[in-house]
Amino acid sequence: MNTVHSSMIHLPDARILPAVWKLLLLRLRITFNSLRHAKLRKKIGTVFIWLLLLGVAYFILSMSRLLLGLTRSPEFRQYVGVDLQPLLASIPALTLTTLFIGTLLTSFGVLLQAMYLSGDMDFLLATPVPIRAIFVAKLMQAVLPNFAIISLFGLPILFGLGISSAYHMLYYPLVILVMIVLAFAAAGLSSLFVMVVVRFLPPRRAAEILGFIGATFGLLFSQMGNFANSFGKEINISGSRLASMLLLANTRWLPLNWAGQGLVALGEGHWLSGVLLVSATFGFAIVAFWFALVTAEHLYYSGWAGMQVVTRKKLTHASRPASANGFGLARLLPQPVLALVQKDFLTLRRDLRNLSQLVSPVILGVMYTLMMLRSGGEPPAGRGEAPAWFMESFRIVLEYGSVGMSLFVGWMLLSRLAGMGFSQEGKNYWMLKVSPLRVGYLMAAKFLVAYLPTLGLGLIFLTVISIVQGLSVLEFVYSIITISMCLAGMAGILLTFGIVGANFTWDDPRRMNSGAMGCFGQILSMLYLPLSFGLFIAPLGFAQFLGFPIAYGYLIGLALGSSVTAGFAFIPLWLVRKRVARLGGE
């Protein structure tokens, strides 16, 4: 074999910027390749989303220009009786502060993924590429997507303000430059934050917690509007109070406000204060970015962040789940069924990524329940022309609103538990596939895993609402039967579609439901929801209408509803039983 001559060793380019460029080109190539190999509908969808985003940006620009222009008009000023000029001048500071904090928070997850979970750091660090270039490229990867999204909303507002206020031309390029340096400073600080977190938590666990917090807060914020509509009528914040609050936030003592205040000053032609404030922003941002970059690089390379100081707490005997021996009625279940149920409950509880999906129905349920309870349980009187039987039937339906609410919450929970009951096995499905597990046992276990917690949650909602609404014992018992049967049927439908569209190839639980079958299941179960509810409740109204004793209504509702819902619980599953045997082997 030939010897390797020193003349053959190519000295790599040690300059940072060309290396960063190469790494970014690589990322661009990966993105381009995934788009190129994507299905046509995804390609069309991507182009459509981009066009839509551009349209949104143009809309925000036009609206902000129009509205901000309007607020400057003397007529408007006279109408509101307040000088809005200081308020408008605070917009850049508020927008840029939002950009900074938004980038700081959103970069955390991206950087955690890019530095610790993507798996390419070791590969890159082993190559003769300057380590700083790798970190800069990673930071840029973290910044770019979030920066683009935040800019999509922030830039049109700032430009709209500039146009409507006839700011100096220098204002516009400086807005872009300031946004870029602030975003980089935020991402740099975020990388340090990642290092500190990873020092105490394994990266994967940190990602799980982050996902859980993100999903929960995202849902809470998204529902805040509904909640505020229902509960916030009493909270009346006047316009002048809001203006004074905004002005207070735009204090010069906060360095984050300097960027916005400097841009406004430059736009209005106050050169000295403008140049000073913008220069200070640039200085602080660059120093923060550089400090963060060098420190993060050192912490990563020295292995400081990798050495977790907190070891994982061992599960004590007390915290361990009950053994597969089971207890109470569970003893009646066959051993493999009980084992599967216990295993699923454990993995659902311990994996925060699953928990974040499961907590959504609870949050939504609580919010809608509170709103329902506030609305009262009485039908609107109207002009009093409606016949008595109609009003009575309406009152019955409203009385059973608690059942409807419990079913709605149950539907949301079942969509996850039953719809993805099989898919959640993921790449571990081989363990079930190679074991001598009967198809019937597997289906029964998955049914129970979906049905039992949903029933429990539904009954909790029912009990709470029933107590508040003061339902009679008979109504409460009938509601329990209705919920139990309706949810069983719904579990059957959703589990069936979950089997047909089972996906075992996911890495991220959020991508578990990749096919159209999950959507079909949800649509069908959504149609089933009023049908099953109606089968139990409608006979009560008919009995009222026909003047029969209400007991007849209960009996007919029970017979009709139970038989149909039981059919939905078993027949769809029976139809796909052979498919279960083939799952994971195609």
Binding site: L315, S323, A339, K433, P436, E586
Partner: protein
């Protein structure tokens, strides 16, 4: 190890390929796979009967697996007997894992038959699976269960006697040096620990047939040695062990018989001695035999690339 079958030479007997395949006399079966199909021996053969007869624990016949136009496994037939360790070798993408997955019931064959412990994997899957243990190449285990919980779960899947399970779990955890991590969730385990947990799970029900796909990948020498010893002991106790590996040294040392698959076709089966007869010198290593059968890179070609 070959079982010592008694051959008494009294008269001339002609064996055909078909007769030998059915006769469970694997000395000859091995030869027939890559030699002329008829043998003439001066003598009679007393085929093993009763206690001496090794049980066929894995039997594949004319096994085919197609993915659309691509044939991943093409007409593969071989047997693995009780008491032997069978090595399954082949280059990357040769069809080893596909064959193994069909044996353990993870993959449905396009055609052909697989029997495990005498049970058809397609039609008697419950019985076949109850006798079989499987260790996959990638240990995908329930990450949020602890090692102990996983083993208990597996024992329940196989409906093992609950009174025995706790003891068995502790025994396996201790044997694989996992006892200190037994109550940690599996996502905190290293690859090697996960591999050992996977093997422990496969051994929970004391399988008659153990199928392992690349069992020693990622293991430290101590663990690799432990696994080799365990497999040997299992075979000595009458189980059939089938393993795929790329480490030819392991195959050469551990396996009683070796099957070589290339491009979906089984191109050789036999003991090391039998495989050596394929080489003119008769002293070739398994590596030489493997490369000559599967077409390894030429030395000059390698030198050319490194130049």
């Amino acid at each position: 190890m070959l079982r010592p079958y008694v051959i008494e030479t009294k008269e001339t007997v002609t064996f055909t390929y078909r007769i030998l395949r059915e006769g469970d006399c694997h000395f000859f079966i091995s030869y027939t796979l890559f030699s002329p199909v008829t043998y003439t021996i001066d003598g009679t053969i007393r085929l093993p009967t009763g206690d001496n007869m090794p049980e066929t624990l894995i039997e594949t016949r004319d096994l085919i697996k197609r993915y659309g136009e691509k044939v991943a496994v093409n007409n593969v037939s071989f047997n693995v007997y009780s008491g032997e360790v069978f090595g399954f070798l082949g280059p990357n993408g040769a069809g080893k894992t596909t064959t193994i997955k069909m044996i353990v019931g993870l993959l449905q064959p396009t055609s052909g038959m697989v029997k495990v412990a005498g049970y058809d994997v397609q039609t008697q899957s419950m019985l076949a699976k109850a006798t079989c243990g499987y260790v996959p190449d990638t240990p995908n285990l329930y990450a949020k269960l602890t090692g102990r919980e996983l083993l208990r779960f597996v024992s329940d899947l196989y409906s093992l006697d609950r009174s025995q399970v706790t003891h068995r779990i502790d025994e396996l955890l201790r044997m694989f040096d996992l006892i200190t991590a037994a109550d940690d969730t599996i996502d905190s385990y290293s690859h090697g620990m996960q591999q050992k947990t996977s093997l422990a799970a496969a051994l929970m029900h004391d399988p008659k047939v153990l199928v392992l796909d690349e069992p020693t990948v990622g293991l430290d020498p101590k663990s690799a040695r432990l696994i080799k010893d365990i497999l040997r002991q299992l075979a000595d106790r009458g189980a059939a062990v089938m393993l795929s590996t790329h480490i030819l040294e392991i195959a050469e040392r551990m396996c009683d018989r070796i099957g070589i698959i290339n491009k979906g076709q089984l191109i050789a089966v036999g003991t090391m001695d039998e495989l050596r007869t394929l080489d003119k010198t008769g002293e070739a290593s398994l590596e030489d035999i493997f490369l000559s059968l599967t077409g390894g890179a030429d030395e000059t070609e390698i030198a050319e690339i490194l130049k």
